[in-house]
Amino acid sequence: MSIKEKEQEIIDEFAIYEDWMDKYEYIIELGKELPLIEEQYKTEDRLIKGCQSQVWLNAECIDNKMNFTADSDAIITKGIIALLIRVVNDESPEDVARSEFKFIKEIGLQEHLSPTRSNGLVSMVKDMKLNALKAVK
């Protein structure tokens, strides 16, 4: 599946939730299921400190495919990370570097990607793309 298709899949999944709480319950479930970053990678240089929550991100590129693992101390932040990673994992660094994550706005979670939210996510997205750019051959 391409990034576009995966984004559409998520938009469709979220379309069934009318109530905010249902939507968040789903995000929280995703957060709980997020495959965790290995403890050894939870280092200071992989830590993105937000005022409200913090994020660890590890990026690898194997066979021209990006692979991200991440974690956060806040579960909602983690759930959103799970969505972002689902979209870009296994994609080429070129495609990851170009992705804009517009689906986040469509499913009504744009506020979490606002710089003023200070939850570490904006910097994490930037770091994902930087890592992808570095991996572009």
């Binding site: 709480m21 929280i28 709980k32 409200q52 929550s53 101390d73 806040a74 909602i76 932040t77």
Partner: protein, 404 residues
Amino acid sequence: MNIKAIRSQFPILEEKIHGKPLVYFDNGATTQKPLSVIQRVNDYYSKENANIHRGVHTLSQEATTAYENARNTIQEYLGAKQSHEILFTKGTTDSINLVAFSFGELLNADDEVIISAMEHHSNIVPWQMLCERKGCKLRVIPMNEKGELELDVYDTLLSEKTKLVAVTHISNALGTVNNVEHIIEKAHAVGAKVLIDGAQSIQHIKVNVQDLGCDFYAFSGHKLFGPTGIGVLYGKEEILNQMPPYQGGGDMIKEVTLEKTTYNELPHKFEAGTPNIAGGIGLGTAFEFLNSLNMEDVLKHEQELLNYATEELSKIEGIQFYGEAEEKTSVISFLIDGLHPYDVGTLLDKMGIAVRTGHHCTQPIMDQFGIPGTIRASFALYNTKEEIDLFIAALNRIIPILQD
């Protein structure tokens, strides 16, 4: 006190957030505005707008009068001796920076400034900058587990080297009401001046600066039902006269030649440039609103809210409170086992409830407790027990979702 009548004066309380009635428990960050203040600012721009202190035309005269009347209203409310002891600033932060710069100019290396372990960053950083600039030393009054200042240690920090003590009247993160009378008395005994950060006070308790005896008192309009971008520094005339100006520009001068400038009198010496005229006038109206209240009734109502909320929250398993001082205002900082404040704050918002999460600009307090932040509910006079019930119900709905 008729809470219904008070609530009806605050139009925003009718708003819906995500389709739910707004429950506003972030009053420590800023308070909502009564219609009288909103209307006054609106009227100023609709009918009276002109620059002040510099026009002979009618509108300028009227705007000047309104602005200066606001100063007089504030002076009377705070019990200051003179109206020119009330300086308009942008807010608490600006007021403290003014003192740190201008009073700071009178300090020398080896002089000492005392702050406390529970200060807002606004009452820490300006003093650190002053100490960098002048080579003075910063000393800190420690805080105990309950969030109270250790005043016996304070007494030992004071010496003839102490030139200024800057402490908060009420802690924004913990609600602690400090014994500022003691702090002021002891400081004066060694010849030091005292600045009180009153950002969290006037909206909850009646403040009289002459009774307190403080040398400076700083606060923000937006936290006491007034507009944003306006605040006050009260300073004793004698000390303000000794201090050099803070910023240079229009309004603060008597005479300017290209060689030399003589400065204007108080309060203008410290009010360079066109001020926040609408804000100042609106702040006057906010003080009129305070004047219409009986502050003892306000405090009683808020204490009831505090006690009720504390009692109800205590029933939640795994809750931990931060700030359990004997004397505290209507602020509750807490954490729930296994729950991150960001998650709680985000879900409460979806249910229409506004609380603050994070370190509340008081990182040293959080460091002392060994936590990154808290969830803070802070109540104002228009809040009700019914709103607290909604808050508790919302928490009880959220907790199982967030816990594993």
